[in-house]
């Protein structure tokens, strides 16, 4: 077995880091859009809005029930054949779209559970002091649901950061795509992929640190 080429690995880091912004941008955009969509879906499910409720169930069922890679291929290679205006879709857009739809389906269910989990007595107290349904949702239910949902949502964000590596299959040169190209040039596959693995790992660890701080803040009111 050859000795690990550490110098190559060290030299590879700055090359790969240049593609980190694209990876993070796709993850952040996907997460932001997924959050908005998931909140909407969750509210539809909680209020059982007629018509939309059924459509939401179907949406969640499909995007949870099929692999993310299949969805990405469907958007990037498949849809432009049926919808002419999508011929301009690029790999980054297709990835963000896929991540948004896929993860919003999962997140909608955890947000819904968090909202439903807020005790009915909180709603009654808010109504008794004259608050409207909108006010009690905004001021009482959602803040309490957020505290419950954050750990799960952060978990999905971590998963989403790693899932951006699938963009490589759509020809996007992000962190994973860049690594693949470098490895193909140097033939040092083990070094290249262990390096990129460590980079992903460090990003996720950084995020986990941020999550712990966020949770401490959200739990402040509940400390004895």
């Amino acid at each position: 077995m050859n000795v690990l080429d550490v110098d190559y690995m060290v030299g590879l880091v700055p090359v790969l880091i240049r593609y980190l912004p694209l990876t993070l941008a796709m993850a952040v955009a996907g997460m932001a859009l997924a959050l908005v969509l998931a909140c909407g879906l969750a509210v539809i499910r909680v209020l059982r809005i007629p018509g939309l409720n059924g459509a939401t169930l179907l949406f969640i069922s499909f995007f949870r029930g099929t692999p993310l890679l299949v969805q990405l291929f469907l958007f990037y290679y498949g849809l432009p054949q049926v919808l002419a205006f999508l011929t301009q879709i690029n790999g980054v857009t297709a990835t963000i779209m896929g991540l948004t739809l896929h993860f919003s389906a999962y997140m909608a269910e955890s947000i819904r559970a968090a909202i439903v989990g807020v005790d009915r007595s909180q709603t009654e107290a808010a109504l008794s002091i004259g608050m409207t349904n909108g006010q009690l949702m905004r001021r009482i239910v959602l803040p309490q649901a957020t505290r419950v949902a954050v750990p799960t949502l952060m978990n999905y964000f971590i998963d989403m950061i790693k899932a951006t590596s699938l963009a490589f299959t759509l020809g996007v040169t992000e962190l994973m795509g860049a690594t693949q190209k470098e490895a193909a040039g140097s033939f040092l596959y083990f070094e290249a992929f262990i390096t990129v693995a460590i980079i992903y790992w460090l990003i996720v660890e950084g995020l986990a640190w941020f999550q712990r701080r966020l949770e401490t803040r959200l739990n402040e009111a509940y400390r004895r």
Partner: protein
């Protein structure tokens, strides 16, 4: 405009709470049967009865936390309807204190008290906070204003809950077993606040088994069983000379030990 006109027309002469033939069902279960009740402004009413008799449900109809299916209810001359605006209008006149306090755990004591003044009555934050501090002082808990509910004892939380209600200047206060979830040594601090409120002339409907409180402040004691008002009388007569057998049995059970 409209609201002001209605209020002015009914302010003084209207009954604070009026129920005419109120009926409520939970599915097949007939919880409230033909309830007639008139509460004058400034009256203090204690409602007692065995568990499941409908006493909590009765007062929860007044601020529409429960719907009733038949009969009429009005609060300060305003008839209760299905209209959301009307329900909100009535709720702003009615304060409620719950058995389990129901404070908002993610907000400080002060923020709990300022919610309604700021978001419902649209008062400036400074004014709302000053007023909230004033009420917190009256229930003797002002020094805890910046703590969270979870950091307070049960008795303290219930006093905050009373202050939170008072902050919206209700015309009538509903108490739903306010001391039932408290340790014995904390019951008195809450009752003291309620007695003081009664002496200040607040209209009060209290579901409670604190018979000492009933004797001290109530103008009338109402006994309910199986969804009906069985008996109502001034406290003296109610306790010394209960008319119905069920009232006698109930009193012997709660006073007998």
């Amino acid at each position: 405009m409209n609201e002001q006109a209605t209020t002015a027309a009914n302010a003084d002469d209207a009954l604070m709470v009026e129920m005419r033939g109120l009926n409520k069902w939970f599915g097949d279960f007939h919880v409230l049967r033909e309830i007639y009740l008139e509460v004058e402004r400034g009256e203090r009413i204690v409602i007692c009865g065995p568990s499941g008799s409908g006493k909590s449900t009765l007062i929860r109809c007044i601020n529409h936390l429960e719907e009733f299916q038949k009969g009429d209810l009005s609060v300060g001359g305003l008839p209760m309807t299905q209209d959301v605006k009307r329900i909100e209008q009535i709720r702003r006149r009615v304060g409620m204190v719950f058995q389990h306090f129901n404070l908002f755990p993610h907000l400080t004591v002060l923020e709990n008290c300022c919610l309604s003044p700021i978001w419902v009555q649209k008062k400036p934050r400074k004014e709302a906070e000053a007023q909230a501090m004033n009420y917190l002082e009256r229930v003797q808990i002002a020094e805890q204003a910046l703590k969270y509910p979870g950091q307070l004892s049960g008795g303290q939380q219930q006093r905050v809950a009373i202050a939170r209600s008072l902050c919206m200047h209700p015309e009538v206060m509903l108490f739903d077993e306010p001391t039932s979830a408290l340790d014995p040594e904390m019951i008195k601090e809450v009752l003291d606040v309620m007695v003081e409120l009664a002496h200040e002339g607040m209209t009060m409907l209290c579901v409670t088994h604190e018979m000492g409180f009933a004797k001290t402040v109530a103008d009338r004691v109402i006994f309910m069983d199986q969804g009906q008002i069985i008996e109502e009388n001034a406290p003296e007569a109610f306790f010394n000379d209960p008319q119905s057998e069920r009232t006698q049995l109930f009193l012997s059970q709660i006073l007998g030990h």
